[in-house]
């Protein structure tokens, strides 16, 4: 995989995934398509329960128990991995696509030293010696500014920010082409958040991996993403270059999200929110899923599901607007 062509490294085509319950199938991800180029930074934003994490898990093929990929395709480096056998996926994971999880507090095994947790993934993929694995682990720890002597520490001996940086170091161990960051800063305070984001940016510049950054905090994404996707009730409702989506939002949901956080320099105003709750994903409403909460709805919104259409070059939105 060393082509110079700017082809997509990771692609989703009309992916439908979710959870099988007694009451029916929860379509947590419903017809999602995107293409991530090498070195690109894709931000995915949306409120809790919109299917962001399910999407990440689907891409990593991490589904267990009642979670299923119903239809659609996941392509990695042009190869269809949607139904690839477990053995093949196991090789793909971490070496080519790794992930930083939501809560670093629970993402580390409490009874193993972090050094062991860093090296075991490496050893599972490379047929190398423990000594080499350790050297690599110390290297990545240094990248995220964790002192060497923490190699033998247990997770509970580290602070929250340090744990998250260890997770990032772990994701870097095998120099994957794609790193998925699933709300990596949610559990941290804003100052630590900032340093983590800066660290990710810096590492990305050095190592040129692609990133999918998932968060419910839209403001975080604007300055760091190349592409921005807004998810609502399992669907991508708006998609395009980050600044485009941010400064010229088309979909009423995106506009609602923008109105939900204050600017630093503007006048103090009462923040608007979005009225209502997201729909039931077992039995979603017909037509546009945002229709019941939409301030701009009109006749016909409840009948036809609006497709993503291009509003400006490279900028798509699933709303016919007015």
């Amino acid at each position: 995989m060393k082509e110079t062509l700017p082809e997509s490294i990771l692609e989703c085509q009309d992916l439908v995934a979710g959870y099988e319950l007694k009451a029916g199938f929860v379509r947590a991800v419903d017809g999602v398509s995107f293409a991530l180029k090498r070195g690109e930074f894709l931000g995915i934003a949306g409120e809790s329960g919109c299917g962001k994490t399910t999407l990440a898990y689907a891409v990593m093929r991490l589904f267990r128990d009642n979670a299923k990929i119903k239809s659609g395709k996941i392509l990695f480096g042009g190869k269809d991995i949607t139904h690839a056998p477990e053995e093949e996926i196991k090789k793909l994971r971490w070496e080519h696509i790794s992930m930083v999880f939501q809560s670093a507090m629970n993402a580390l095994n409490p009874v193993l030293q972090i050094g062991e947790q860093l090296t075991d993934g490496w050893l599972a993929h490379k047929r190398g010696e423990v000594r080499e694995a350790k050297a690599r682990a110390l290297e990545v720890l240094k990248l995220v500014d964790i002192p060497e002597d923490r190699y033998n520490a247990y997770p509970h001996q580290l602070s929250g920010g340090m744990k998250q940086r260890v997770m990032i170091a772990m994701a870097l161990m095998l120099q994957p082409e794609v790193i998925i960051l699933d709300e990596p800063t949610t559990a941290l305070d804003v100052v630590v958040q900032r340093t983590i984001i800066e660290k990710i940016q810096e590492l990305r510049k050095t190592f040129r991996f692609s990133v999918i950054f998932i968060t419910h905090d839209l403001s975080l994404l604007v300055e760091i993403s190349d592409l921005l996707a807004i998810m609502y009730a399992g669907k991508i409702v708006e998609y395009g270059p980050a600044s485009e989506v941010f400064y010229n939002p088309v979909h009423p949901y995106t506009r609602g999200l923008m109105a939900s956080f204050p600017t630093l320099s503007g006048p103090i105003v009462r923040m608007g929110g979005i009225e209502g709750k997201p729909p039931d994903l077992i039995d979603p409403p017909s037509g546009c899923r945002f229709y019941p909460r939409c301030p701009d709805r009109h006749d016909g919104c409840d009948r036809d599901t609006p497709p993503l259409r291009q509003v400006r070059p490279g900028h798509f939105a699933a709303c016919d607007g007015e």
Binding site: R93, M99, F101, A107, N109, P110, V111, Q113
Partner: protein
């Protein structure tokens, strides 16, 4: 280290409390051991009676506090008194014979049950959607729900009485020479049914505990991370899931090891196995106070020491506990 010393301090204190209670509770019970003795020794001349009372320490004019002090001193020296029912054998000697049987039988069965149960529990949680897992767990929970002495009676009836392939009592055959290979085989042969009873009936508990812990741990984020890292499933199962899930099981294992010393009272009765449990039952029947007191003391001490060892095991296995004591 601070944790360690605190635990030792706690252990010593608890031992002291156990000894104290063991001294006072029998003295608060109704009934008089001296009376008991006199009834038992009818037809013995009064002078002899007097010396027997002195031997048992029943003539004492000491106050309760002085008695208590003497008792503590004696216990520390290992003097547990003279058995009333097996007069004039000291309690210590009676226990010396009974304890190895109980430790061997109960200890072996408990350890075996813990290991098999834990391994089955790990497997049952790991493949909890498979039919064999549901079947195994179900079967042993069902078996656990009947009283174990009843299971023992069932085994005795079928294997001992109907089929006559196993003996129905005792720990070894009286026809073989003590020591040596034949004796060893005889002990195994006699211990088989009681050990099987205890193992089979307690297996369900270990399976269930381990399975439930393990299922909880499998839902943890670090298991997902381990999967995402593409680790071999065996490593995830053993080092990520089982090691964490085992911590609570180890505590209850150590506790049950403590109770081993008390013997499987009913099992030993059913199989007429000459262990501590049977001894305790006989002591109660014969109102042998010295004996009862000694056995109770032994049980409390064993439970306390087992708990202490459990704390130490957790200290070794869980780094969080290790640090919290610093």
């Amino acid at each position: 280290m601070k944790y360690f010393f605190r635990k030792i301090g706690l252990l010593l204190f608890a031992l002291f409390v156990a000894m104290t209670l063991n001294f006072f509770i029998p003295r608060m019970m109704p009934g008089d051991p001296a009376r008991e003795l006199i009834d038992r020794m009818q037809g013995i001349p009064p002078e002899a009676m007097e010396s027997i009372r002195i031997a048992f320490g029943l003539d004492t004019k000491d106050t309760l506090i002085v008695q208590y002090g003497k008792y503590l001193l004696n216990v520390l020296k290992g003097e547990l008194g003279i058995s009333l029912s097996r007069f004039p054998t000291p309690v210590r000697d009676v226990l010396k014979i009974a304890i190895p049987w109980t430790l061997g039988l109960m200890g072996f069965a408990t350890i075996l049950s813990f290991f098999i149960g834990t391994i089955l529990g790990i497997g049952a949680a790991w493949s909890r959607n498979k039919r064999w897992a549901t079947l195994t767990v179900g079967t042993f929970i069902f078996i656990r729900s009947f009283p174990y002495f009843w299971l023992g009676l069932l085994f005795i009836y079928f294997f001992g009485f109907r089929l006559q392939v196993f003996p129905i009592g005792n720990a070894y055959s009286f026809y073989v020479q003590k020591g040596g290979w034949d004796y060893f085989l005889s002990v195994l042969y006699h211990g088989f049914l009681p050990a099987l009873t205890i193992t089979v009936s307690s297996l369900g508990g270990w399976i269930l505990t381990m399975r439930n812990n393990m299922i909880n741990v499998l839902a943890e984020d670090y298991i997902t991370v381990a999967l995402a890292k593409g680790l071999p499933l065996r490593r995830i199962k053993n080092l990520y899931a089982a090691k964490n899930a085992m911590l609570p099981s180890i505590t209850s294992f150590a506790m049950s090891l403590g109770f081993v010393v008390g013997g499987g009272l009913l099992t030993e009765m059913v199989f007429a196995y000459p262990g501590v449990g049977l001894m305790l039952w006989q002591a109660v029947q014969a109102k042998d106070y010295a004996m009862m007191q000694a056995i109770f003391l032994f049980i409390s001490v064993a439970v306390l020491i087992a708990n202490f060892l459990a704390d130490l095991a957790i200290l070794l296995l869980d780094p969080r506990v290790r640090d919290s004591g610093r």
